[in-house]
């Protein structure tokens, strides 16, 4: 699985078990799929799975609204 696929699988299993699929450009915050505890779990998952370290200033909507934005965020972090 690529980064998008891995995040999709995680989001589906943890936060949207009633759905079969989730698009990479779906707004997870806008649809209420992620709540505040969900974001904490998701950040922990991204850090562990992709071996990145998030800074306080990374924890903004622009990095977590969609799976595609999360992929870009992970790649930016990995390239540093």
């Amino acid at each position: 699985l690529d980064i998008v696929g891995e995040i999709q699988t995680y989001v589906l299993s943890e936060f949207a078990a009633e759905r079969d699929e989730i698009a990479a450009d779906e707004n997870l915050l806008g649809q209420g799929i992620l709540d505040s505890m969900g974001i904490l779990k998701l950040v922990a998952f991204l850090e562990e799975r992709f071996d990145i370290q998030t800074d306080d200033d990374d924890l903004i909507p622009e990095n977590f609204e969609t799976i595609e934005l999360m992929r870009a965020f992970v790649e930016r972090k990995r390239s540093r």
Partner: protein, 189 residues
């Protein structure tokens, strides 16, 4: 003997004043927010307008606490402006260490937070229930835990709340109308 008696009397008088002040302060839990804020200001807390104060957890040095406008402080939250552990050391009978606390504007404290001496909390922050704050919390931060750590920016929390499936705009409703809305939403007969 007379001198000792007078000294004892003065101690009793001082203790009585402390007890009266403590009871008065505890009774403030029953007062309105405005009355509580007036009382806090009388005691020396520098607190801005529009705050909601549900706690009586202010320190013995209230004049070392500064709170900006539009802050909400839930019950059980404690502001501590001194480190009294010096009491352990017999050779330093008079020692205390102090630290002022500064809280910015638009800060929300959940229940049972502890704010330790010298803490500085920025504007537009959320302090999660039970958090123990020490040091500097930057503007626009949501913090949790002991020691409190930034878990997200407040702007991200806002997005989550605005779109939450259990968001119900009930603040303007009276208790009966609110109960109806909540029962309907959660399917409670």
């Amino acid at each position: 003997v007379r001198k000792a008696t007078l000294s004892r009397l003065e101690q009793v008088r001082r203790r009585f004043r402390q007890v009266v002040e403590s009871v008065r302060w505890k009774l403030m839990a029953l007062a309105s927010h405005e009355a509580r804020i007036r009382a806090l200001r009388r005691r020396g807390v520098r607190i801005g307008d529009g705050c909601l104060v549900f706690t009586t957890g202010f320190p013995t040095e209230p004049y070392l606490v500064e709170i900006g406008e539009h802050c909400a402080i839930s019950r059980g939250t404690e502001f501590i402006t001194h480190d009294a552990t010096g009491w352990l050391f017999d050779d330093q009978p008079d020692m205390d260490v102090f630290g002022p606390i500064r809280v910015g504007r638009y800060v929300y404290f959940g229940t049972n937070c502890t704010v330790l001496p010298g803490s500085v909390i920025g504007d537009f922050c959320v302090i999660g229930s039970g958090a123990v704050v020490r040091g500097t919390i930057p503007d626009n931060s949501v913090v949790m835990g002991n020691p409190a750590k930034v878990v997200m920016k407040t702007s991200l929390l806002k997005q989550v709340l605005v779109n939450h499936k259990n968001r119900l705009d009930t603040r303007h409703l009276d208790p009966e109308a609110k109960e109806k809305v909540l029962r309907r939403h959660f399917g409670i007969e």
